[in-house]
């Protein structure tokens, strides 16, 4: 902590005005929780670099890459919320200096000497469980454990967690689809003996009625131009009665009618359909033909 950064001394009952202001600011942000989740998902996916490497799992990253994830998240969160750079800490939010802290484990946030006494935006996620958490805390010296690592960073103590103001707690992270497939499906979808296009065909054929994000298509194809791969899969899967719905035209309405997740921009969902009369229950228009689900109400699961 530098001499020119006075840190409020906190009695147990003194409210932390700076903390309150920053918490209020985040709560006023539209879709705040969803945007934190998207920022963390993007950061993971960018460091996986699935399009070039086919990776989808934190365990596949090198030590350098795992360290870099914290930097990437700091950058993506700053851009997502349009935050200013701080003078001493990472961000300046409603005139308060706030440091971004990432940890792979909740409670694992390390506080360097210069951030002691400062507001910290503590972020973590569990890609296996598909959840993330974000909290704000003032990292007072009394909230750190006594032990220091070799960089003389202290860890927030377990007892300090009660002082954390959670902006999101075990909130849903956009799904890491490849991580959550069963082994047989994943092996089929990532089969290195198949072309990228054939792997994408396998993906949309085998993984139906679930949101498939653009990043998943790129990691499976291991080439650029995901939308082109999807368009070609659409033709390939047509004889199997499988349609791939995107975010345009009648597709979102069809997804809703079919009772499957509704894709947004950069997302698709595939579903097996049969020809239907316009007035049939659950029927919807897909690319100028009336269709209804072949296995309604989750019958294929």
């Amino acid at each position: 902590m530098r001499a020119d950064s006075p840190v409020p001394l906190l009695g147990d009952d003194s409210p932390d005005a700076g903390l309150g202001k920053v918490v209020d600011w985040f709560h006023a942000v539209d879709r705040m929780e969803e945007r934190f989740g998207a920022a963390i998902r993007h950061s993971f996916d960018e460091v996986f670099d699935g399009q070039r490497t086919g990776r989808y799992h934190l365990g596949q990253l090198s030590k350098v890459e795992k360290t870099y994830i914290g930097t990437k998240i700091e950058i993506v969160v700053q851009a997502e919320f349009g935050l200013q750079r701080g003078r001493r800490m990472d961000y300046l939010i409603v005139d308060e200096e706030v440091d971004a802290k990432w940890s792979m484990k909740s409670g694992g946030w390390m506080i360097p000497t210069e951030a002691v006494g400062e507001l910290c935006l503590c972020m973590t996620a569990d890609d296996e469980r598909g959840v993330f958490s974000v909290g704000l805390i003032r990292a007072g010296i009394d909230r750190l454990t006594d032990s220091r690592n070799k960089d003389s960073k202290g860890r927030l103590s377990p007892g300090a967690m009660v002082a954390m103001t959670w902006l999101a707690h075990d909130s849903l992270l956009p799904e890491n689809l490849l991580l959550h497939l069963d082994d047989v499906t994943r092996d089929a979808v990532l089969d290195p003996k198949l072309s990228g296009q054939k792997r994408v065909n396998e993906l949309f054929h085998r993984v139906q009625e679930r949101i498939i994000r653009r990043e998943v298509v790129l990691a499976v194809a291991m080439q650029d131009d995901g939308p082109k791969r999807v368009r070609d899969s659409r033709k390939h899967l047509q004889p199997f009665g499988v349609v791939i719905l995107g975010h345009q035209r009648t597709h979102p309405a069809a997804a809703e009618a079919f009772g499957v997740p509704v894709p947004r921009k950069g997302e698709w969902v595939s579903v097996t359909v049969i020809d239907a009369e316009p007035e049939a229950p659950g029927a919807a228009l897909v690319d100028d033909s009336w269709k209804s689900p072949a296995f309604p109400s989750g019958g294929r699961a």
Copy 2:
């Protein structure tokens, strides 16, 4: 070095068959030198993350990001050349294990214990000078300096450089345009008081007759959809007689006729033009009108 990885003992005059095979393989690759340059450029630009941060200079990166550049280059080169992963080293090229080594300075390559005696693909670039080099060498113990850093990595000795087989040496790196602008132009183009669109307008107005890559537009705009920003700049600059040429329609032919660099996909070049008769020297069709340069043969410089 593991016991199961026999390393050839090299007399001064024994040719290194493995090295020769890998060198031959790279020399047979189409546009090999250009692709190494593009891979290094992409790696730098991805770590700058200009779209989110507006950064364009290695000095603006954190220590973690500088370390990560080596990892990114290893990944991008692997994907660019379609290399297999090695069993012991990073790559397997014509059945030879090859380790990727990045250094910010030529000659600065650090060789960890496990790579001693192995083939190393040594890469470096100087973004200020706009050049890069790539060489192959077998990192024999006799080619390392005696000193070891704390990770017990050795450095290739200056004397070992004569044994380097250069695949590219001080070759031209795709330009880091923002780095190479004069301060007045750069400040105008990155002015934080302007909107992203206005900054892109400034870019194409002030920086004419030079290739402007998509990544530069994104770093200046600090938002996604670079092509949309360029289309809007085109309309904005029309009253000033400035056209922005891309890689489609008559644009490359017009660039050639105007004597300015010819843009490829993801590149643009702006130039001030006047109306011209079709038969006028240097005239070319741009979006259905005949134009010729207002300042022919570099007159504006």
